[in-house]
């Protein structure tokens, strides 16, 4: 057997393994996906909204929080030296909501420092953090707080859905966000929620203080704090029923910047917690290897794919060149191998399974508009193009981790 075939078989086995893993998780937990425990006490919650130039969305975010079915103790907006009208807008809304507070940073301090500053002033037992361009549904908090009944729970996150679904690019991201949220919920069943997202996550203040708050050095403070909490033996959860709608990047450039930031932050967090590899239960034995391995596999599969494509394209181009110079037939249908390899058949079957699995996800999450036949192109694009090209983000992220000392975002 050729070396390439062996590598391909290893990839295939791992792909089948993870596919089986998520299907088994679903099979045994499908009744619990939308479940959320009822709180056994009244938790006091302080909402923190870090904001930098958010004049277009801040008002709606504040309105969405105050519409919560669960009582909110206070909402603190941290205006991180915005250059637009954010401060003015918040001041205006403060007249309407007495529980709304404003912290003004004289200098731009960054998200982590802003949050840490606000945590010192927050009076709630729980700290909810939401991005200023995200809108939680009114039941979101109510569906999250019950997870804190377990005193070991340090953080609970929500399912993020895309708010702006107008352009093709946004629609593709909508698919991605739903699949990400679903996968995160599956991982919750094995206590492996490794990201508490920026759009809406709730933390136990005591534990956040214990872990030293949000790390200002990290460009993805939400990933870092989650790993910090997990590394100390606390739990994280995800409430799939707690939805928050966020604004997905509309332009490729903005999207790329966002994803590379996530990538760099993720890689740096792996390095920061590298001592925990294969230690400390699920965190060291599964989460860390899983995240590191996902990055490695994504990059390696891309390189392998490029090599295989390069080989075929190079042969085709050279053949065309020779054929043209010798004035013979450039392309002959007869030369197309119509007998697929078993690898190709297995990849095809895996693709069909993934497609059916995602169809199930969209159906149970009541996102049926995505599974309409007219939207099939979006789904195929997501599976065949978006996911295939995503490793390019990892390449850029790895490059920046290696060659850039300071990351500016």
């Amino acid at each position: 057997m050729e070396i390439l075939t062996t590598i391909f078989l290893v990839f295939l086995f791992l792909a089948i393994y993870f596919m089986s893993f998520f299907i088994i998780l679903l099979f045994f937990n499908h009744k619990k996906v939308f479940y959320f425990p009822k709180p056994n006490k009244k938790y006091s919650i302080s909402f923190l909204i870090p904001a930098y130039n958010e004049e277009n969305s801040i008002e709606k975010t504040i309105e969405a929080i105050f519409a919560s079915t669960y009582p909110i103790k206070e909402v603190i907006v941290i205006n991180d030296s915005s250059k637009d009208n954010t401060k003015k807008i918040v001041r205006r809304i403060m007249k309407k909501y007495k529980k709304l507070k404003l912290i003004n940073n004289k200098k731009n301090m960054g998200k982590a420092n802003s949050l840490n500053k606000a945590i010192k002033e927050a009076r709630g037992e729980l700290i909810a953090v939401t991005d200023a361009d995200s809108y939680p549904i009114k039941e979101a908090v109510e569906r999250m707080v019950g997870f804190f009944n377990d005193s070991k729970t340090g953080a609970v996150t929500s399912s993020v859905f895309v708010r702006n679904k107008n352009s093709f690019f946004e629609k593709v991201q909508e698919i991605e966000y739903i699949m990400l949220a679903w996968t995160r919920k599956m991982l919750d069943f094995i206590h492996s929620v490794y990201v508490t997202n920026g759009p809406l996550s709730i933390y136990r203040k005591k534990i956040v203080r214990e872990v030293g708050g949000f790390d200002p050095k990290s460009i993805t403070e939400d990933i870092e704090i989650t790993w910090n909490i997990l590394s100390r033996g606390y739990k994280t959860h995800m409430s799939f029923s707690a939805r928050v709608y966020t604004t997905a990047p509309s332009k490729l450039k903005k999207w790329w910047k966002q994803r590379v930031r996530w990538g760099v932050g993720g890689i740096e967090t792996i390095f920061k917690y590298k001592k925990n590899f294969f230690r400390k239960g699920m965190f060291g034995f599964f989460i860390m290897p899983f995240v590191a391995f996902t990055i490695f596999m994504s990059v390696a599969a891309f390189i392998l794919g490029i090599y295989l494509i390069y080989k075929d394209v190079a042969v085709a181009l050279l053949t065309a060149g020779y054929s043209l110079s010798l004035q013979t037939t450039v392309f002959r249908l007869q030369n197309v191998n119509t007998h697929p390899t078993i690898m190709l058949i297995m990849v095809g079957i895996l693709f069909i399974f993934s497609f059916l699995y995602s169809t199930y996800v969209f159906k149970v999450t009541k996102q049926t508009h995505i599974i309409k036949l007219s939207k099939i192109f979006n789904r195929l694009f997501y599976m065949l193009v978006y996911l295939t090209l995503y490793p390019l983000v990892w390449f850029d992220s790895i490059y920046r981790v290696i060659f850039e000392k300071k990351h500016k975002w």
Partner: protein, 219 residues
């Protein structure tokens, strides 16, 4: 480690079992498909074997008056083998697990060598004026450049065959099978480079650029 976490490992183990089952099933399916293709080639080969024996017997028995039949038989037979072996090449290119197809391919290479030798014999006996065009190529890992070269040569020869029809007898043989008889043929015709095209056992074309003259050799 907590008690509850231990329960998580059940998912990992179950997934491993399922994945192992699915993967093994896939591999077995692969072996089955590749064997089915090999069986198909085997059936075709059995049929061709009969035809080859018939053609060889015919070449032994012919007198001058039977030449036309013998030539016709041999050319038709060579054509069939040539085009069937293209499918076999596809099969082997797609074979990733089992080695069965490789053996079939070697049998076909021997068969094609016999057709060539038979054709030489017929030409000698009948003084026939068709041309033997034998294409000896590299089958195993030819590399990008060589693969492109070989695909082009294959296209040129198919075009030539379509143009000249019965005037040429086209035979392709994998030259890197290490089969003693094929090695001997290579030695006999001094073939040291693959791919090489031999016309009427005396013209040797190794350079792809010289193939534009092939039409002149088979006028």
């Amino acid at each position: 480690m907590e008690k509850k976490e231990l329960g998580n490992y059940v998912y990992f183990l179950l997934a491993l079992l399922v994945a192992a089952f699915v993967f093994t099933f896939g591999i077995l399916m692969g072996i089955f498909i590749e064997n089915a293709r090999a069986n198909f080639a085997q059936e075709n080969f059995a049929q061709l074997e009969v035809e080859l024996l018939d053609a060889r017997l015919l070449s032994d028995l012919i007198t001058n008056t039977d030449c036309e039949t013998a030539i016709q038989e041999n050319t038709d037979f060579a054509d069939r083998v040539f085009f069937e072996s293209l499918i076999l090449d596809d099969y082997q290119e797609s074979a990733e697990i089992s080695e069965t197809i490789k053996i079939q391919h070697e049998k076909y290479d021997l068969l094609r060598s016999m057709i060539w030798l038979n054709s030489i014999k017929i030409k000698e006996k009948c003084g026939a004026n068709y041309h033997n065009v034998v294409y000896i190529y590299q089958f195993d890992n030819p590399g990008i450049n060589k693969k492109a070269e070989q695909e082009t040569i294959s296209n040129i020869l198919i075009d030539l065959k379509n143009e000249k029809k019965q005037d040429i007898l086209l035979i392709s043989i994998a030259g890197d099978t290490n089969l003693p008889s094929i090695e001997l043929l290579k030695k006999k015709y001094d073939i040291t480079y693959l791919p090489t095209v031999i016309i009427d056992e005396n013209i040797k074309i190794e350079n792809i650029e010289d193939l534009d003259k092939i039409g002149d050799y088979v006028k």
